[in-house]
């Protein structure tokens, strides 16, 4: 018999993340590097342990090797536990059936036994592609106090942007009476963050019913939530006010990285009470050469900077040679930018090489949020000497 856990977290990390293009060709979206030394998934994993939830299933499906290896036994997040801890849960063959995860709800359905094993009262559903710091335990206490069957974390978004989100319409007590996916004429500004807490017995019932419906997409947003709402279950929104960003597109991934450089963005990674943990790669401190110029930038361990870096994120192990200029860009782990190369408004993938005098991206004065023309040099790609990569272009590895 396993030790009982009041709440088990289930992290949906199986999505392909097609909108990130070259960056997610070989790794799952949650494994994409972020902020110099992190991966996107570090935020949800760190939030989980910082919220005193020590049992988490990570549901993987698309390109799982890198993510599996990264999570390992969960030790970097203090999730290597005698009872509970971090578990990578890929789809598996069962006695009567065996299939891929068909949708977000189906992924949980296929792991009902995992949650049951810990006799959990509540299940926290998370996605691995958001950057934010949130105390899930506060949300859980809210869920319990409300006597809710389902609690959905929401953020207030500007009304003009509301039609890009799943919008929750609630009464004055935050009780949800209507859910609209990307409404043309939004009635509220409460956007779902894709973070749910369910009372497990209730969710289990709906998962089993949903599975029997062959026409269903087996999706939380499309099926489970509307079904529960129609049946009159107790569903509440939970207001979250801190920094939160979905990094599902190149432009939003770039923006979220740049938010680290903006003291007013609210992302604040330096909060010692809410550390973001990452797997460490044992690199020496970074070295800044004699001719280097670094201003308004993040530089991580193992880097060697001899050139000019402005408004940029230089990730661990990257090399910026003498005379290279990096502006408003993200250079991912172990990438090399050689002498005389210029990089503007770009993302340089891990292990990519920008040969000397190449020109990647172009400077942009200003853009509407989400619509930056970011040039992307995919992981392991080499940009030849003198080559020009246009703004908004995406270079990929051949195979």
């Amino acid at each position: 018999m396993q030790v009982k856990k009041e709440c088990v977290a289930m992290l949906l990390a199986g999505g392909q993340g097609t909108r990130l293009g070259a960056l997610t060709r070989k790794v799952a979206k949650p494994a994409v590097p972020f902020g110099g030394k992190y991966r996107i998934i570090d935020f949800t994993l760190s939030n989980t342990i910082n919220s005193d939830i020590d049992t988490i299933g990570v549901l993987t499906q698309y390109q799982p090797f890198d993510l599996n290896q990264y999570i390992g036994n969960g030790q970097p997040w203090d999730l290597d536990r005698l009872e509970g801890g971090a578990f990578v849960l890929p789809p598996y063959q069962k006695a009567k059936s065996g299939e891929w995860y068909k949708g977000t709800a189906n992924a949980i359905y296929q792991n009902i036994d995992f949650v049951d094993r810990y006799s959990a009262d509540y299940v926290l559903i998370l996605s691995g592609d958001h950057i934010y710091k949130m105390d899930y335990n506060k949300m859980l206490q809210y869920h319990i106090a409300k006597g809710a069957d389902c609690t959905i974390a929401v953020q207030n978004v500007p009304i003009e942007e509301a039609s890009r989100f799943g919008i929750m319409n609630t009464d004055s007590d935050d009780k949800i009476f209507e859910f609209e996916e990307k409404p043309k004429h939004p009635k509220s500004t409460k956007a779902s963050m894709g973070i749910y807490i369910f009372t497990w017995a209730k969710l289990k019932k709906y998962l089993i019913e949903d599975e029997l419906n062959k026409a269903s997409h087996n999706d939380f947003g499309k099926n489970i939530i509307p079904n529960m709402l129609n049946a009159g279950e107790q569903m509440y929104t939970y207001d979250f006010k801190g920094y939160w960003k979905d990094v599902g597109t190149i432009s939003s991934l770039w923006e979220a990285n740049m938010d680290i450089l903006d003291n007013d963005s609210g992302i604040n990674l330096s909060d010692s009470d809410w550390k973001i943990y990452a797997r460490n790669t044992a690199e020496p401190p970074h070295f800044v050469g004699s001719g280097a110029k670094i201003s308004n930038a993040v530089v991580s361990e193992g880097c060697v900077v001899q050139g000019e870096v402005v408004n940029s994120i230089i990730s661990r192990g990257a090399t910026i040679e003498k005379g290279a200029i990096i502006n408003d860009s993200i250079v991912m782990p172990n990438a090399v930018v050689k002498a005389g190369a210029t990089v503007n408004h770009s993302i340089i993938g891990w292990n990519a090489i920008i040969e000397s005098d190449a020109k990647v991206g172009s400077y942009q004065e200003k853009a509407i949020a989400g619509e930056w023309q970011i040039a992307v040099v995919g992981p392991n790609v080499t940009v030849a000497s003198g080559e020009v990569v246009k703004a908004g272009a995406m270079l990929e590895e051949d195979n």
């Binding site: 690199e283 050469g289 280097a292 308004n296 530089v299």
Partner: protein, 371 residues
């Protein structure tokens, strides 16, 4: 992987010559090169050479060391079999004080040595920063049929007590002497890292202890030289022996050299240390940094030249740091200026304060001090 060799590491030594820097710690836990402690280099060399049974002998002020090492997980040394064994000061019933020298210290861990299945031991001080392939040296040691191999390097004996080796063309050690007087001449200096057959070490220590000997080098190695089976192995890459403030400063500054960093860090044999989950370093609009080694977690908005910043250091706008070493959690406030200064952990240099030592005599500011 070799299961042939175990290790004994001495965590203490020369604390008196490091003055303020070792008031609160052993030499082994002295911060070095931005994010390490000296012992990290020895531990990483062991792990990278497949040596996983490591006894650490401590004498004093070892709580910072225990805190650093914990269960050894950061070096992958939290093993079911083998791993790290820390030996706190152990007073034998027959003597009132803790051990006086290496012979007595080794005598107290004979049991640990004898019970271990390994046939060879690496006996090492922990004040050496170097990236050494011990497994290859062990193979050479075995092939030569050596009793003991002394690791050494060519260096100027500029300070402190050093063991000088003379060897013949076959690398057999022909003489050992201890030098107290500095000279500018380049000599073959012992790194105080030895590889030795275990059964031999045990019998040497038993016999020496019985005769009341104290000094491992003088009372054992010097006597064994005449048997012609003590070999010298020269390390030609960067190797720093840190045993006083001046060598600490000079050897630290050498790490700013590209070749030295390559020899220490780019060998494919990583140097591990305690993971602290600091955020990457953030540079502000007013930052101006050159020729410096910067660890994670710093916030820099001033000028930093020819310096080493450890983790979580803050350099405020208008502050100027030159030729200095600032350890963890140090702060130089607005307009503060320091040169040729070593600030220990959590030192705060107040706004507009100016402190300057010289290259020969860097100023040391003790832990937690607010200037």
């Amino acid at each position: 992987m070799n299961k042939k060799m175990m290790a004994i590491l001495f965590a203490s030594g020369n604390e008196s010559k490091l003055n303020e820097l070792t008031l609160h710690r052993t030499t082994a836990s002295l911060p070095f090169a931005g994010r390490y402690r000296l012992i990290d280099f020895a531990l990483s060399n062991f792990v990278n050479s497949g040596v996983t049974r490591i006894g650490i002998i401590t004498r004093n002020n070892y709580s910072s060391l225990m805190d650093h090492i914990r269960m050894g997980r950061d070096w992958d040394l939290n093993r079911k079999n083998s791993g790290i064994a820390v030996f706190p000061p152990f007073g034998l019933n027959t003597s009132r004080d803790v051990y006086k020298g290496k012979i007595e210290a080794l005598y107290t861990v004979l049991d640990f040595l004898e019970k271990a299945p390994e046939d060879y031991v690496c006996v090492s001080n922990s004040n050496i920063a170097s990236n050494i392939e011990l497994d290859a040296i062990l193979e050479e040691h075995i092939a030569r049929g050596a009793d003991l191999t002394m690791l050494c390097h060519k260096a100027n004996v500029t300070s402190s007590k050093r063991v000088i080796i003379t060897k013949n063309e076959q690398d057999v050690v022909t003489d050992i002497c201890q030098v107290e007087i500095p000279s500018t001449e380049e000599k073959l200096v012992s790194l105080n890292i030895y590889i030795v057959r275990k059964d031999l070490l045990v019998s040497w220590v038993e016999q020496a202890y019985a005769r009341g000997y104290v000094d491992f080098e003088k009372d054992i190695l010097f006597r064994e030289v005449e048997n012609g089976k003590i070999y010298a192995k020269e390390i030609t890459t960067y190797a720093a022996i840190v045993d006083d403030v001046k060598t600490y400063y000079n050897q630290s500054m050498k790490v700013l050299n590209d070749d030295v960093r390559t020899e220490l860090f780019e060998t494919g044999r990583k140097v591990y240390t305690k993971v602290k989950d600091s955020v990457p370093t953030i540079y502000g609009n007013k930052a101006s940094v050159s020729n410096s080694l910067i660890a994670d977690g710093c916030v820099i908005n001033g000028t930093v030249e020819n310096s080493i910043l450890f983790r979580d250091v803050r350099i405020e706008e208008g502050a100027v740091v030159k030729n200095s070493i600032i350890m963890e959690h140090g702060v130089v406030m607005k307009g503060g200026q320091i040169g040729y200064t070593i600030t220990d952990k959590s030192v705060v240099i107040g706004a507009n304060r100016q402190i300057s030592g010289s290259e020969d005599y860097p100023i040391v500011i003790v832990k937690n001090k607010k200037v």
